[in-house]
């Protein structure tokens, strides 16, 4: 090599060296090709994503078309119209499509529509816009993930829980899959209540293992399980009954003709359904021969054994018979000392091969058990509006009275096999969901109370974080977004949520704002750095808007669409556009920051 190179001219030497395939050259060329391929893959992914935006599953599209929902929608709207007439309330007119799109997107994905989605929807005929957008959202994986997270907060809590036996993310992932498949709600709940196996392997097991008590050898805390089951799946707060009989009239059992107040035994007989559950290193199992659940009742010094019993609807206990009707299980006191003179049918654990919780799941999801369906209707309404039909969200009366809309939606939910997608669609097309949150006439608290205007409610912290993230991009941030962008977004939002604070599972509480939270929005890392020109973020919305050859007024309009999903008023354009004309980049950054800090961006309306 030395000789040959020494014989060559300097020029030929360098040419020769360049053509020699040294490892360094190879590596350099390989890196170049990899970067090139990554870039091409990114561009392809982006173009495919845009195509996906327009390709909607025809089955979902059929499900959300209004004609198929006409009957229930008419009944639903009539119920509200009647209430408004009775209350002498003039409802606000329907809001524009963009406002409704924002409500839908925030409720289902936790973030507002992107500019790309807005432009796409505006290319559709007016009559198809909301249907297509709703269908698009219902098939969007973000919707399944977001709704799963919201439901999981209520069902297993927002905290990481007992680390050894609880995998919250495993539960959320399982739930998201169920929602993606649109599994009937009663089946989802039955799966959770009868789940067996390992929490790491089988997602629904975590419903129970979330209530394991590390201080008691990870035994399942049956009181906490019963409280959660009752609140979430019956819509009844009976937690006070764990210690004493009801003396405030806060609980209601029995029949409509013979209602009665709750007893301490009601709570613990429900808890008894879960008394066979055992959490072992091999997973969650049932001990069919376990001794009957025992508890020290108020005033007693010795525990009392209580067999499982339901507080109402005793006829639905037990497996369905051949003709579809349920057979009641005879009351028994074989292994128990019953102290309460209630009429509950009891289920004897010692003579039954079926795990008690399975019996309970069958009773709970029985089609005649309307509180089960009603509780979910109220929750989905709350998720869509930011405010449930009945407050608090998990305490509905057993025998009524019920507000307009609740029974109509419950009827439809049961009749259509607990179809969550249909329930969401019905609520989305209802007159209250379409109502404007502002009116040309004076609005009173009664308007909001009776849904004669759309209620304003503060966004949840993760919806705020989603709004900020989306404001930094012109295209929707979804699963087709580049992995690096997704990772950056995940980290930033996590930091934002940690700093802003989380409501935990009290997610329908309407709290005000703290000084720390406002400072975070005004000057915090995410709210400021994402919305300014900086190295490393070459494609954020500021740069893209700056490079568009739009007039200042058009820029103002685009920024309003990105953050607030509406166009600015002439007054707003007049106040802001002159600044953007003079300082284009600074003006865009300032406007983005201002809108992110506005109540309009931080509230649902």
């Amino acid at each position: 090599m030395t000789n040959s190179s020494s014989n060559s001219s300097p020029g030929s030497s360098s040419n020769h060296a360049a053509s020699v395939a040294t490892p360094a050259n190879w590596l350099g060329q390989l890196a170049f090709v990899l970067i090139l391929l990554t870039g091409i893959a990114y561009l392809l992914q982006q173009s495919l994503a845009k195509t996906a935006l327009r390709r909607i599953d025809p089955r979902i599209l059929t499900e959300v078309q209004r004609p198929g929902l006409h009957g229930t929608l008419a009944t639903l709207d009539e119920a509200f119209a009647h209430a408004w007439q009775t209350q002498h309330l003039e409802p606000t007119p329907p809001a524009d499509d963009l406002t409704i799109m924002r409500r839908l997107s925030l409720a289902l994905t936790g973030m507002p529509p992107s500019l790309e989605q807005i432009r796409w929807s505006e290319s559709l005929p007016d009559s198809q816009r909301l249907e297509q957008y709703l269908a698009h959202l219902l098939q969007d994986p973000r919707t399944h993930d977001y709704l799963a997270e919201r439901l999981a907060r209520s069902w297993v809590g927002a905290e990481s829980g007992p680390f050894v036996v609880f995998r919250r993310q495993r539960f959320v992932t399982w739930l998201s899959d169920q929602l993606q498949q649109n599994r009937p709600y009663d089946q989802i709940v039955r799966d959770m209540l009868t789940a067996r196996g390992l929490w790491t392997d089988h997602g629904p097991v975590n419903f129970f293992s979330a209530q394991a008590d590390p201080d008691q050898d990870n035994r399942i805390d049956l009181v906490r399980v019963t409280g959660r089951v009752s609140r979430n799946f019956l819509g009844m707060r009976i937690d006070c009954l764990q210690c004493h009989d009801d003396f405030t009239g806060g609980t209601e059992f029995g029949t409509p003709s013979e209602p009665r107040e709750g007893l301490q035994t009601d709570f613990h007989r429900l808890a008894s359904f879960f008394g066979q559950i055992q959490l072992a290193p091999t997973g969650l199992h049932d001990r069919l021969n376990a001794p009957t659940y025992a508890v020290e009742l108020l005033g007693d010094v010795e525990p009392t054994r209580l067999t499982a019993a339901v507080p109402y609807g005793q006829d639905w206990v037990g497996p369905p018979s051949d003709n579809g009707a349920s057979a009641a299980v005879a009351a028994t006191t074989a292994d128990s000392v019953t102290t309460a003179p209630d009429s509950a049918a009891t289920v004897d654990s010692t003579t039954n091969d079926t795990p008690l919780r399975q019996t309970f799941a069958q009773w709970l999801t029985h089609r005649e058990n309307r509180p089960f369906a009603r509780a979910m209707v109220n929750r989905v309404w709350g998720l869509m509006f930011g405010k449930p039909l009945v407050e608090p969200i998990d305490n509905l009366p057993l025998h009524g009275p019920f507000p307009p809309g609740l029974e109509e939606l419950t009827d439809d939910f049961i009749a259509h096999d607990y179809n969550l997608r249909r329930l969401i669609t019905l609520i989305a097309y209802s007159r209250p969901f379409a109502a404007d949150s502002r009116g040309s006439h004076e609005l009173t608290p009664a308007h909001q109370q009776h849904w004669a205007c759309f209620p304003t409610s503060k966004l949840r912290p993760e919806q705020m974080a989603g709004t900020i993230s989306q404001a930094a991009s012109l295209v929707a941030l979804d699963d087709s977004t580049h992995i690096v962008t997704q990772l950056v977004r995940f980290g930033e939002e996590l930091d934002f949520l940690t700093r802003y604070g989380d409501l935990g599972d009290q997610e329908f509480e309407q709290d005000g704002e703290t000084v720390s939270q406002r400072l975070l929005l005004l000057n915090g890392e995410m709210a400021t750095q994402r919305l300014r020109v900086q190295d490393g973020l070459p494609f954020n919305s500021v740069i893209q808007l700056e490079r568009l050859g739009q007039s200042p007024a058009q820029i103002v309009e685009l920024v309003y669409l990105i953050v607030l999903t509406r166009r600015p008023t002439p007054h707003e354009v007049a106040a802001i556009a002159p600044v953007i004309a003079e300082e284009r980049r600074a003006g865009i950054e300032d406007l983005l920051s201002v809108l992110i800090n506005s109540s309009e961006a931080l509230w649902n309306h």
Binding site: R499, G512, E513, S516, L522, E589, S598, W603
Partner: protein
């Protein structure tokens, strides 16, 4: 004109005691002035001590006359081991080799991990028998911070939030938040059902600026942003819409936030002016700086400050974990107590040192100690607390499979007793019933005063 003209007709009346209006006012003025003298202070102290010797009721009255003004919570997140801190059992099976040292108080030992606090044990009162029913971190933190076990339908307010709520009418307007959490975590004090205005203001290592109080753009641009926000965008949103209290409060919050951004009182958070020698005295750690800032904030009029030292969750290698954390805790709290005393703030400032639970009296296979809420230590200082006291006693070798009342625990005190005592020391009627947002009347605390701390 005499005040008591009828006195002349009373043979038992001594005319020398009769006062004219002028002489009465004269006496009143002198009397008032006398209360400003050291003599009056001494008399007041004697009077206070007399009362302390009386019944508990009288002591409670005395406490209300001179309540502590401020609270510092040293929050040891993760659950410190009582055996390697304030309740060593040297030579016993539960010590697992941990050592103890004598303290300034006769017959009182601390872990050898806390030599500086041992020298100041006469300022500290230790409750070695605190119990709770919660062995999970998140639930136990809620329990210890609020005095209530977690409930599904109600979020209880943290101790600092309760104090700020109960004493809001006592405080003068200040730019600074009244409730501050230094080295804040996701579990920092929350206002709960009292509302987010009682949440602790969150800040981090005082070596850095208070978070988010500096605008990211120059002042003209920041002012332009505020002007667009408050005069263009917000009015447009509120037009034609029904307002509600939270929405209406937005303008106030923006005003408070911007006022804080430009406040000179922010200097109370700043420790950069503290000499390196002083910082070293506090241990030259983030936690140490937090304790410096806490002292400064209390001096500036902040009512409740929480400083968090995390990392006590020693499921493995317990002794090293505890020793390392104590090396941070010991100099910082010792220096803080010294400085509070030097600035004559210790009598009016209650200091609480606590975590969410203790740790098991037996090492696990990984050399760690697990969660133990069945008898752990909490320390109080200042705020009128008599130092050098020990309340309760733990079993040097408790069977860890047993819990609750079956354990040999002398004078056990559930967490709520600690809250009742602290609230009482702050002059707050802890038995007052508050109507919660869910319509359920609830006492501020369900606990009982730990009498021995006040005697």
């Amino acid at each position: 004109m005499t005040i008591h003209s009828h006195s002349h007709s009373d043979p038992n009346c001594q005319s020398a005691w009769h006062l004219s209006r002028r002489s009465w006012l004269h006496s009143l003025a002198w009397g008032s002035a006398c209360w400003l003298t050291p003599l009056a202070e001494t008399l007041g102290r004697i009077h206070h001590e007399d009362l302390q010797r009386d019944s508990l009721a009288a002591r409670q009255i005395a406490r209300r006359l001179r309540p502590a003004k401020s609270l510092i919570v040293i929050w040891l997140q993760g659950g410190p081991s009582q055996l390697e801190t304030f309740d060593p059992h040297p030579g016993s099976p539960s010590a697992e080799g941990s050592l103890a040292i004598p303290t300034r108080v006769p017959n009182l030992q601390f872990s050898d991990n806390l030599p500086l606090l041992a020298e100041r044990a006469d300022r500290l009162s230790i409750i070695r028998s605190v119990t709770s029913e919660e062995g999970d971190h998140e639930r136990a933190i809620h329990n210890m911070m609020t005095g209530y076990r977690p409930e599904p339908t109600l979020i209880h307010p943290a101790l600092g939030s309760v104090i700020c709520h109960a004493t809001q009418s006592w405080d003068n307007a200040t730019d600074l938040p009244r409730h501050v959490s230094i080295l804040a975590t996701g579990q920092s004090s929350r206002g709960g059902y009292l509302g987010p205005q009682y949440d602790a203001f969150r800040t981090y290592d005082p070596a850095n600026r208070v978070p988010d109080v500096e605008a990211r753009v120059d002042d003209p641009r920041f002012q332009r942003r505020l002007q667009w926000l408050t005069q263009v965008v917000e009015p447009e949103f509120q037009r034609g819409r029904l307002s509600n209290p939270q929405l209406a409060a937005t303008a106030d919050t923006i005003r408070q936030a911007t006022r804080l951004m430009s406040s000179e009182q922010l200097a109370a958070f700043d420790v950069t002016g503290v000499s390196p020698t002083e910082q070293k005295r506090y241990g030259d750690t983030a936690f140490g700086r937090g304790c410096i800032a806490a002292t400064q904030l209390i001096q500036a009029g902040v009512r409740c400050v929480e400083v968090t030292l995390p990392g006590w969750d020693s499921h493995a290698n317990n002794h090293t974990f505890q020793r390392n954390n104590c090396a941070i805790l010991d100099p910082a709290v010792a220096a803080m107590l010294d400085d509070l005393a030097a600035r004559e703030l210790l009598d009016s400032t209650l200091v609480l040192i606590a975590g969410e639970f203790g740790r098991t009296p037996k090492l696990n296979v990984a050399g760690g100690r697990d969660h133990w809420p069945h008898g752990f230590s909490v320390v109080l200082a200042g705020g009128g607390i008599q130092g050098g006291r020990v309340i309760g006693e733990t079993d040097p070798a408790p069977p860890i499979e047993k819990t609750g009342s079956r354990l040999k625990l002398v004078d056990p005190h559930p967490v709520e007793n600690l809250h009742a005592t602290i609230l009482h020391l702050m002059g707050i009627d802890y038995q007052e019933v508050i109507q919660t947002p869910i319509g359920r009347p609830l006492k501020i605390s369900e606990g009982q005063i730990i009498d021995q701390l006040l005697s």
